[in-house]
């Protein structure tokens, strides 16, 4: 620090990013973006995936060095060369995913996060200081519990407490509520808002949930494709204004209306149990029937057995006990059964679960049909022309943006990978559709298209099982809603009559 320089103001810090431009090769991730976060405010940063939100905050935190532009902290220009410099200035960041050590206690995690951990720790002294620190904080966390034993909501509180313990006065939160129930989210954000009002803290929150922006933020900045799309006081804006700024002029696929009656039970789970990778029981004897022309949504905080349930249905995991029946027949996820029952699967993380990254888009589209005419002549010889013709047709129909049908699918963006899987899975007749977080991390256009496709499949009489961590998505699409907690179905309601607080309570296991 330069001698004679006035020290940074105490209390909440303001941060300005001025004329930020960030290029990666030919790609412009940020184009002359300005962000002004006033001290002692709760500021939301909105934008679709790929809009440049993460790039912007990484430039502020010193992970990236912007091609052009400056960062002002407390009104003064600062050269932030690395995250350490940012920390020294009092800037901190809470990531979407937890960074705590699960096998250690909360107290140990807090102390170890410090830059100046002494070689020998006097735990009695440290504990006393921690307790004194906690007394000043609005959050309460059990200091002596292991992180692995506390709930997701408490972990998120620990992450935030860790930043406060490290005396950070400007906090960036990257989608902090994605792993929380609505109740937990409101609690955590409400407490943070109180601290902001108290003048100790400034918050910049990356999010895509309008509800949270409306309820907690003072100001909002919106990015679209690396450019500033708008900013202003939340009080002057409506979710519609903000959505329009995020999407721009792009036209969204219109979701078909819910029509048609409910048919016979198509997909039945009977006392189905499954283990997770560590051999612990993840799905505990669940039973459910999904009928034709019906979307059954499964809600729950991530990690309550939904993934294992979907894996059993997808043939990626053996059931431990119980059975699955499709159209009355026992189902073991063989190719023949999937074909006979016209089953389609839209798993989460499609590149990891449903595609071969090194194979072409055309090949990936053909995974379900390659061993039949016209793709296979005589049942064994691949007919490349058929692959290409079918791919070109589906690329156009599903608006997949790819340079050629022969481009490896790993070169496509997340939305286009998911569109490729949609083209494959929904390109033919569908009688049973199983979808898991099908829209995770996708932009509005892709989400609208996928929702429309799922609704259309339902209207054509398919039985749809939709597993999602996004309650809004479930409420919008489902006919019936089931809450999964600790591997069991704990609550069921018609989606039209479902009560958000009631669902949230069951998601948290109360």
């Amino acid at each position: 620090m330069i001698i004679g320089e006035t020290p940074l103001p105490a209390g909440a810090l303001g941060v300005d990013a001025v004329a930020m431009t960030m290029r990666f090769g030919d790609f412009v991730a940020l184009d002359n973006v300005a962000l002004k976060v006033r001290p002692g405010t709760f500021h939301a940063l909105l934008g679709e995936n790929g809009a440049g939100k993460s790039t912007l905050v990484k430039c502020i935190m010193g992970y990236y060095h912007p091609t052009e532009g400056d960062v002002l902290v407390g009104g003064r220009e600062q050269a932030i060369a690395n995250p350490k410099d940012a920390h020294a200035l009092g800037l901190g960041m809470v990531y979407q995913h937890f960074t705590l050590v699960p096998a250690m206690t909360v107290a140990e995690n807090l102390v170890l996060a410090r830059d100046d951990v002494p070689a020998v720790l006097e735990w009695t002294k440290e504990k006393k200081q921690l307790a004194a620190f906690l007394a000043r904080m609005p959050f309460k966390v059990p200091l002596d519990s292991r992180v692995s034993d506390i709930s997701a909501g408490e972990r998120q509180k620990c992450e935030i407490l860790k930043q406060l313990y490290l005396k950070r006065r400007f906090l960036i939160l990257d989608e902090p509520t994605s792993v929380l129930t609505p109740g937990e989210a409101d609690e955590v954000l409400g407490m943070l808002r109180d601290m902001v009002l108290g003048g100790d803290l400034t918050i910049l929150m990356i999010t895509h949930k309008f509800r949270e922006v409306m309820a907690f933020a003072d100001e909002v900045t919106i990015l679209r494709r690396g450019k500033l799309a708008g900013h202003g006081k939340v009080a002057d804006l409506t979710p519609d204004n903000m959505a329009r700024m995020m999407i721009g002029a792009e036209e969204l696929t219109i979701q078909p209306a819910r029509v048609g009656g409910v048919g016979e039970a198509r997909l039945e789970l009977d006392k189905l149990s499954a283990l997770d990778d560590a051999g612990a029981i993840a799905v505990r004897g669940v039973s459910l029937a999904v009928r034709g022309g019906e979307i059954v949504g499964i809600a729950g905080v991530s990690g309550n057995g939904q993934r294992q349930l979907v894996e059993v249905l997808a043939g990626q995991r053996e059931a431990e006990s119980g059975e699955v029946r499709v159209a009355g027949d026992i189902y073991r996820a063989s190719r023949e059964e999937m074909r006979r029952h016209k089953m389609s699967l839209l798993p989460e993380e499609p590149l990891k679960n449903a595609c071969v990254g090194g194979m072409s888009v055309a090949d990936n589209i053909a995974f379900r049909e390659f061993d039949r005419a016209p793709f296979a002549s005589g049942g064994w010889w691949l007919n490349r022309t058929a692959f290409r013709d079918d791919a070109e047709k589906k690329i156009a129909q599903y608006k997949i943006k790819t340079r050629t049908p022969d481009t490896p699918i790993s070169a496509l963006s997340g939305g286009n990978v998911q569109r490729t899987v949609l083209a494959r899975e929904l390109g033919g007749d569908v009688e049973v559709l199983i979808a898991a977080n099908p829209c995770f991390g996708l932009d509005f256009a892709a989400v609208a298209q996928i929702h429309a496709e799922i609704m259309a499949a339902r209207n054509r009489g398919a039985a749809v099982l939709l597993v999602s961590e996004d309650l809004d998505e479930l409420l919008e699409l489902s006919d019936r809603l089931v809450v999964m907690f600790h591997g069991q179905f704990v609550y069921e309601a018609r989606a039209s009559e479902a009560d958000l607080t009631e669902i949230g309570r069951h998601m948290a296991g109360h």
Binding site: G50, K58, P347, M359, D363, A376, R403, G414
Partner: protein, 369 residues
Amino acid sequence: MTTDTADGVEAVGVAPAADPGFLQRHGTTIEYVLIPGAALVGALAVFGVFVALFGKNPLDLYFYMYQGAFGTWFSWQNTLARAAPLILTALCTALPAQLGMVIIGGEGALLIGALAATGAALALPSMPPLVVQLAMVCAGMIGGGSWIMLSGGLRQYRGVNETISSLLLVYIALAILNHLVEGVMRDPASLNKPSTREIGAANMIGSIPGTDVHWGLVFGLIAAVASYILIYHTVFGFAARVAGGNIRAAKIVGLGVGKLIMTICFLAGASAGLAGMVEVAAVQGRTNANLAAGYGFTGILVAFLARQNPLAIIPVAILLGGISASGGLLQRRLGLPDASVQVLQGIIFAFVLASDALYGRIGFLKGKS
């Protein structure tokens, strides 16, 4: 920070579809030639240093290596005869690699194949040669195929790592061979070197007309081309590439992964078993410990150098066959120890494995998309 990776991926998707240029369109193909080529040159350079330590001129070394491998018609024939089993044993590694498996036990399948082929010939003493030869081919392939299928089965049904099990099975195969050759199958006349009885001159498969290169080379070429067609042009190969590329994707479309593993392992082992049959029916005329000449292990090197591509195996096997053929000349002209070429093979293997890290990282070949 999932949004971050999404940023990066998005970057590829929204790029303008301008003509990417020659380097970008063929960047991957160039890489597949350039990187193993550079690894080979690097290995030869290090081997040159090794030879210089013996007080020999490395330039002489390179000259004699060329002479011994490709300099004359005689050395070409020697090279091709050595390449034949290498093509077959390399397929034993390259085929399972399509499924994401690393099988390094081709030597074991070769030995079992040789034993089975010899057994078949000795069991049919009065049959016409063509029948005996056909029986030897079938026995060799079934023997070798079943051997590698053991590794596949252990992996699929017992979760045993196929790399380790296939390697350990090499030693079991060698022990079985020694046990039989020194026991029930021993020719009482073979005193110093326990061997089986000869399969008989009439049953030998002989040479391609006009050359001293035996028909094993043709077997190898057919097997390599057939493997290529199988992998890239058939339904079976497509399913194998899906399962090898991403097992979760294969399961979600209901492909029977177990069946794929067992079939591929059988074909891989059958190929190495055929190499064993060729060594018996074209070179040795009987089974003894001479068969454990390391063709199975050199085949692993060939497969890796060829990036597990069945067609690329052919030139690479000829190159490696040439290196091993030049060993004799190096010994005679430069007085280098016999094992020198094995040192070179080891150096090449180390370079090839290390060069794996370079794929996708060579700046001027990278697509700026």
